[in-house]
């Protein structure tokens, strides 16, 4: 039933964005054909496009474009977290389009990914073990995972009303399913939906925006064994390596886990333009709560998390013959892991778990600061070449309050990348790019003082993963995109893309390679 629903959504998305794709591009200001470089430049120029306020799209004055992309991605190598696949294969298709609506604008995107992960470990149920949820089930069996997801995104902005106010809305629907392929095997469903209504008020060259956020999510996972003769030991994690043991199979089998969460938030934006310079300042605040229960027919609370996220971002562009773009951002994410002391009210007519005490048992802090500068040579429709430099600080500080454990990691990232567009004659161009990133870990420690420091959870899972997070590495990458027009005078074109990223830690012999192949059409 759920798969059928997902298929409906898939076809609805395809239909919607195909409609976008076939809209006549009558309002487009130039006859230049669209290409990967032009779309990249368009998004770089568009300050409001990269905010959470859809209403601001009107101010970006984006032109019409549509694209359909097919991606085949391969990852392999042992420089990874244990929960990642030793080899991963992803097949994706996405379609994206922007369309002027009078003086307003609408943008939409639909994507579908099918993924196979080989030889993952210590993840029994989570489709995305890195999403920041400390309460989940793990097992030591090496297993494959099969996953697929659908994502629908949209942003719509009205034309200016009374030349003063623009209304807009932004939304996203994401559905993800997956199955673990070895006992204890899980089937997990995840979805989230968020809507962000917003408005922008205009005062000469000043614009002030506000938008609100509401998000709802649900994840459900059930674990079973294919071989009913052998029960499987599992560990229900509670944060920083603390866990309680359980089993899948038999009379005391682990129950179904249900995660349900809600998030609210708001963001304020201010933009100003003078001469050929525009800048935009955005501040965001989100507050969310996610509860985890097991055995929904007799719900027992496994935990709750409360998340607060604060973000600030300054973006500035200078648009003339060339484009310079600067982005400075800061984010602070605080999460509390709440655990509950419960007893079963065994009264025959009642039989339910009753809360006696709840407390914050673990806290998770993440701080990130980044700066990025990009220069685009040629800023009319397509750039000739571009170069960028960036640096990011990312620090995590996680604490399990009682018994006290702590894990912290501080990393700096430095990098540079560049691309150049080479004309191959006629309407064919080659976009060649290269990038380099260096991650430097300058501090980090994991001190576990829980009940069982010799368990495999600590020795084979938490400690190796911490060592991975702490490793300094470099990444070098390159990409080639061959783009050519379709037809003699039309704006449509197609492209073929190949990209490769190579990760290598400063110490150790392991490595990881990520390869992307793409085929796409841009209108």
């Amino acid at each position: 039933m759920k798969m059928r629903k997902v298929k409906y959504i898939y076809w609805a998305g395809v239909l919607m964005l195909t409609l976008f794709a076939v809209q006549p591009a009558s309002a487009q200001k130039t006859a230049d054909k669209n290409s990967p470089a032009s779309v990249e430049l368009l998004k770089a120029k568009s300050l409001w496009f990269n905010t959470t306020n859809g209403a601001g799209l009107t101010l970006d004055k984006m032109y019409n474009y549509s694209s359909v992309d097919f991606t085949y991605q391969l990852k392999s190598g042992d420089f990874k977290k244990l929960q990642d696949g030793e080899r991963e294969r992803l097949l994706g298709v996405s379609t994206e389009g922007g369309q002027k609506l009078g003086t307003g604008y609408a943008w939409g995107k639909f994507s579908f990914n099918n993924e196979m992960q080989r030889n993952t470990q210590f993840n029994s149920t989570m489709l995305d073990p890195g999403r920041g949820m400390p309460f989940y089930t793990v097992d030591p069996n090496i297993s494959d995972w099969k996953k697929q997801d659908y994502r629908l995104e949209m942003k719509v902005a009205s034309q200016p009303l009374w030349e003063r106010v623009i209304l807009g809305i932004q939304g996203e629907y994401f559905a993800n399913t997956g199955a673990k392929q070895v006992d204890p095997r899980a089937e997990t469903y995840f979805y989230h939906i968020n809507i962000k209504p917003g408005l922008v008020a205009l005062f000469n060259n000043h614009a002030v925006g506000i938008n609100f956020v509401y998000e709802n999510m649900v994840q459900e996972s059930g674990t079973t064994n294919s071989n009913g003769q052998v029960n499987q030991d599992v560990y229900v994690m509670k944060g920083l390596g603390n866990y309680y043991p359980s089993v899948v199979g038999g009379l005391q089998s682990l129950g179904r886990f249900v995660y349900s969460g809600n998030k609210v938030g708001a963001a304020l934006q201010y933009s100003y333009g003078f001469s050929d310079i525009k800048f935009l300042l955005e501040g965001k605040y989100d507050y969310g709560v996610e509860d985890v229960i097991s055995t929904p027919t007799k719900p027992k609370k496994e935990g709750s998390v409360v998340t607060e996220i604060m973000e600030a971002k300054l973006s500035a562009v200078k648009v003339g013959d060339n484009l310079s773009r600067l982005e400075l951002s800061y984010s602070n994410r605080n999460m509390d892991g709440i655990e509950h002391v419960q007893v079963l009210d065994n009264t025959y007519e009642v039989q339910q778990w009753v809360d006696l005490y709840s407390s914050i048992r673990s806290t998770y802090k993440q701080e990130e600061m980044s700066a990025r500068f990009d220069f685009y040579r040629g800023a009319d429709h397509e750039y000739k070449w571009k170069a960028g430099i960036f640096t990011t600080y990312k620090g995590n500080d996680d604490v399990y309050v009682l018994p006290h454990s702590r894990m912290f990691v501080k990393n700096m990232f430095f990098g540079a990348d560049a691309k150049t567009s080479i004309s191959l004659g006629g309407r064919t161009k080659l976009l060649a790019g290269a990038g380099f990133t260096y991650k430097n870990n300058f501090d980090g420690k994991y001190r576990y003082r829980g009940a069982d420091p010799t368990s495999i959870i600590i020795t084979q899972f938490m400690t190796p993963d911490f060592e991975f997070m702490k490793q300094s590495y470099y990444k070098i990458g390159g990409e080639l995109t061959l783009h050519s027009g379709l037809g003699k005078f039309g704006k449509a074109g197609f492209y073929l893309k190949a990209a490769l990223d190579y990760y290598k830690p400063i110490e150790g012999d392991n490595s990881r390679v990520q390869t992307n192949f793409g085929l796409g059409f841009i209108f």
Partner: protein, 404 residues
Amino acid sequence: MKNRYKIILIAILAMFSAISCQQFSDVSKIGEVESLNTVVSVTLNLGSAPVPDMLNVRMINYSERYEVSTTMSPNGTVTIPDIIPGIYTITVTSEKSQDGFTYNYSGNAVNVDIVTNNKQITVNVGASKSGALVFKEVFYCGSRTPTGGSYFRDQFYEIYNNSETVQNVRNLSIAMIAPMTATANKPVWPATEDPSLFVYALQIWSVPNDKDYPLNPGESIIIAQMADDHKKSNLNPTSPVNLLSAEFETLVNTTSLIQDNPAINMVMSFWPTPTPQWLTTVFGGAFVIYFPNEPINPANFVTPVGLSTRHYRIPIEDVVDALELVGNATQVQLKRMPAVLDAGAATVGGTYLSVSVARKVKETVDGGRAILFDTNNSSEDFEVMSPPVIRRYGAVAPSWNTWK
């Protein structure tokens, strides 16, 4: 039509808002965890036993796998710091030798919620002389076949004379008490008589009441589910045990696999819905041995409130020894056995592992006879043994076992 869509949209938004408000409200006043102090005192119900010199106090939070131990005077209280809020089992134990007897002191409080500071907990401590007949070793979890299948016919229960005097096991009965596995869902018993004075059996097997079966000090009897050589090719060559020398077996019917072996057949005293073999749960049952003070009449069954499954009531005062087994260490908090019979629980921590639980040796006396621990706390008295062995520590089969 458009208005209808607007109403639906507003209703959905209102519903989500209401849900999220409740969720946000639930967590809004939750603070960071703080460690607590707990004050433990005891009430001594020692009968004619002497007062112990000191008491050992142990507080275990099984779900956290957190434990605090201390000692206290029998006449005082003790304040125990550094308690993580949670559900605790508090056990108070001691031992004293006097006038040629060994006295065990034990008491516990199970599933006590400690979520406030300086909570007062009083534990009733009773005394008993070490029992004569005790569970010595139990192999309940089964074994794997060469192809990885599960095999459970090799279960056995060894009962040992841990005393200085000859014991007679005639009509000794072994019962598996309800519920079958450790669970938070305990049956609710009718209150026609004080339910706390009884344990409730699912199945009872008895040594035949046809003649005496004496057991000298240091001797043991083996009760086998099936007293065969389980290493035979048609059974399980990888089974750890040969039970042909067992004194008793719980034969229900013979089949192509189950034969009537040399062991004496136990009497099926109570089992409302028997199966071809007495398979007890490989997750760990709870067992008592006792001498019925009147003939067991299966018609005198009781049923839990709201259920129709038949159980047989056994007075706690008749119980000779008790052993609670659970699936894993965390499940100790789901104990079924009253604390007065067994203050803890033993476990092998899994199924089909070819391992057993066996009572630890306290001392060895004249002629190498082992005296086993018997503090009425299986968490303390038992350890996991691999492989299971019948009559370990030099235990001897009784002389009337001529097929040993």
